[in-house]
Symmetry: none
Subunit: 412 residues, 2 copies
């Protein structure tokens, strides 16, 4: 089966935003075993949109359309698809109710009458609930057996909808079954992974091995096409073992969990509490950990100590240390971690101090130099890192590396 | 004039990489005044590639093609364009020399004979040097007066080639110039903005008004097509004034700055310091503020007080308050803001306490209920918010709203 992506949005055509939806959906299609030959972006213009939809429905089996479901008059994706398919629109009472509730809940006394446009549904479409916004999705099967799916444009709405509603439906259509496992790797770059696994990757047929570069991580998806899940699992297992033999503890999980979820789970298992002391990341590390539901079991307090005086006053970093080695130093990272654990009464502490840029770098301490301290019940290790990229990138890489370092300390 | 982007690459179709080239080129086209109606991604397949090229050359004036110029047999963008245009390829001696030199310079003794494929040029094409790689670009003017441009796929090669070679050529072709301004709006949703400005938006011709929904914000781009930048500016000014009359202080800036940059700048201007006391956002608010380069002028310390005991011990929230009203309450938000300002010795403080979900909600205090406290030199205001969405969405919206609330307090 073939799939085609249509992204609708003037903001993509004008280059205001990067089309990350296309990447997400392309990856999902590949994992579903759908061959995706075309991705098209078009604006909120009825004639051009209709043309693109017709072409897609002729040449592809599944057409995934995102964007243009909003409440404004500019948004005409749904209306155009209805015309292309020769179907009517009707107002769905349940959606109308949901939209009214959404506005009631968000304290918006006055629901823009425009929003009721979002209660219009294409005849014969399956409605896809949108718990993250007001525009529901729709899935239509055409007379010719083609499938057209309408999804909202914002990734925060589109991704959960695809994952929870569209993907299970598409899975039910594909012959055989795809079984896949994801190895999540941190601490080694994509090209090194490719080199370490070159012979395995070159020899792949079924299972296949696909690498995906993420911020500070590489994910490897091993996928088998098999008659059933049990057989698929048995086909994937030896490949996973072989890769594990090469990459060792660079693989942090084979579960469907992020680094922060993995770390919080480890701490819960060990019944340990953790705290953070952040300088250049300024709260991002704690913010990432606390994004895990249930983090309150292990995380009670965090410290943002951007200023040197605060590092001394709050964490007890010695003035002598700051004078002699500076705030961006192995010694300061160590004292920050120790001080944070002490002040919060926590079993473990991660400290971060570095130069995120763009200013503040010197020859000796360049932009991208970061020290990460990990305290675990009396023992501290400090890692010196050198990251590339702009301020935000350096901070994101730091957060990822800091969690990885703590994970390695806890797994020892 | 119209432009169309064609991205060639299996790695984009498989979702291994995000198509950032398309965004770059789209923005450049918009700034050049080229109307870009279509972006297409296709793989290294002759038939599909030829089809996409033919369609593009029929419906658009300028076709910018990136990717598929490499040395391997998979790369057939140039060969396919030559066929589509009915032109021959010839070996250019200067390019051959350049490729040989490049390999010599990079210490690569052995030049793959494949690489000589890159010395092949389409009859009548203008050659675009590639100082950052081996594949030169090509610019062809067809018999029908259409322009097709071939560029390499890696952004590090494509961007300098476009900027230095292609853009000056395109500038010489386009009449007039585009001038645009961006209004950034927070505190009111996209549909309400559209309704408040309906008559203005409906009447738009030149300048045009385009709304963009962001997380917790709406951006409005007002763009004039004019003979020169001065005239464009004069055309945009009255539209901006008219919109400002309707939206008032919902517009937080007309500069090219984010909410956090705006807030940090305001604090710098007022020579005030700020601190944060975060519960459900757990450091994200501070992390967002500190992402602004130069935030260290105004932000020295932040508090992550996830646990009730910590709110009491570190910020001095009264145990009585926590018992009587709970941690998610107007009273607690107020005491958190006051306590944070006191403990950090800051002029201003933002506090956040709420229920991000998915657990922890009750009928009385549902998921999405958040209190934001803003302390400014002795005065505290608390805003009660009701957000929808998953845990991460609620936290992101909270961060945006908290910055907006403080911005409004400071601007009073």
């Amino acid at each position: 089966m073939t799939a085609e992506l249509i992204s609708v949005g003037t903001e993509i055509l004008l280059g205001n935003i990067t089309n990350t939806n296309a990447r997400y959906l392309a990856e999902e299609c590949a994992m579903l075993g759908l061959s995706c030959y075309y991705q098209v972006t078009v604006g909120d213009n009825e004639e051009r949109l209709a043309g693109v939809m017709k072409t897609a429905l002729e040449r592809s089996d599944v057409v995934l359309i995102s964007g243009g479901l909003g409440p404004t008059e500019d948004d005409l994706t749904k209306e155009t698809l209805a015309k292309v398919l020769g179907r009517e629109l009707y107002e769905d009472q349940k959606i109308r109710k949901d939209i009214e509730n959404y506005f009631h809940k968000t304290g918006n006394r006055h629901m823009a009458s425009n929003n009721l446009k979002q209660a219009q549904v294409i005849e014969g479409a399956v409605i896809l609930d949108n718990p993250n916004g007001t525009a529901p999705g729709q899935l239509v099967r055409t007379e010719e057996g083609k499938i057209a799916v309408l999804m909202p444009g914002p990734p925060g709405e589109m991704i959960p909808m695809f994952r929870d509603k569209v993907k299970p439906y598409l899975e039910s259509l594909t012959p055989g079954t795809l079984y896949s496992e994801m190895l999540r790797i941190c601490g080694v770059g994509e090209s090194s992974v490719a080199e370490m696994l070159k012979d395995i990757i070159d020899a792949q047929t079924n299972p296949t091995i696909a690498p995906y570069a993420k911020t500070g991580e590489v994910h490897l998806r091993i996928t088998a096409l098999a008659p059933d899940q049990e057989t698929g699992k048995a086909m994937v297992a030896p490949v996973v073992d072989q890769i594990r033999g090469r990459l060792g503890d660079h693989i942090y999980t084979t579960k469907d969990e992020t680094m922060e979820e993995h770390l919080i789970r480890l701490l819960q298992e060990k019944q340990m509490t953790i705290t953070t002391a952040e300088s250049c990341t300024g709260g991002l590390l704690a913010g990432t950990l606390i994004n895990v539901s249930g983090a309150s079991d292990v995380f009670h307090q965090g410290f943002i100590t951007y200023d040197n005086q605060v590092k001394h006053r709050v964490l007890g970093v010695k003035e002598e240390t700051l004078r002699q080695f500076g705030a961006v130093s192995r010694q300061c990272a160590q004292e920050m971690a120790e001080g944070a654990a002490r002040a919060a009464g926590a079993d473990a502490a991660i400290s971060v101090t570095g130069i995120a840029g763009p200013g503040g770098g010197t020859d000796e301490k360049p932009v991208g130099l970061v020290y990460i301290g990990c305290y675990v019940r009396g023992k501290v290790t400090v890692e010196e890192c050198h990251f590339s990229g702009n301020r935000q990138k350096v901070r994101e890489l730091t957060v990822k590396r800091a969690m990885n370092r703590m994970r390695l300390c806890l797994e020892q």
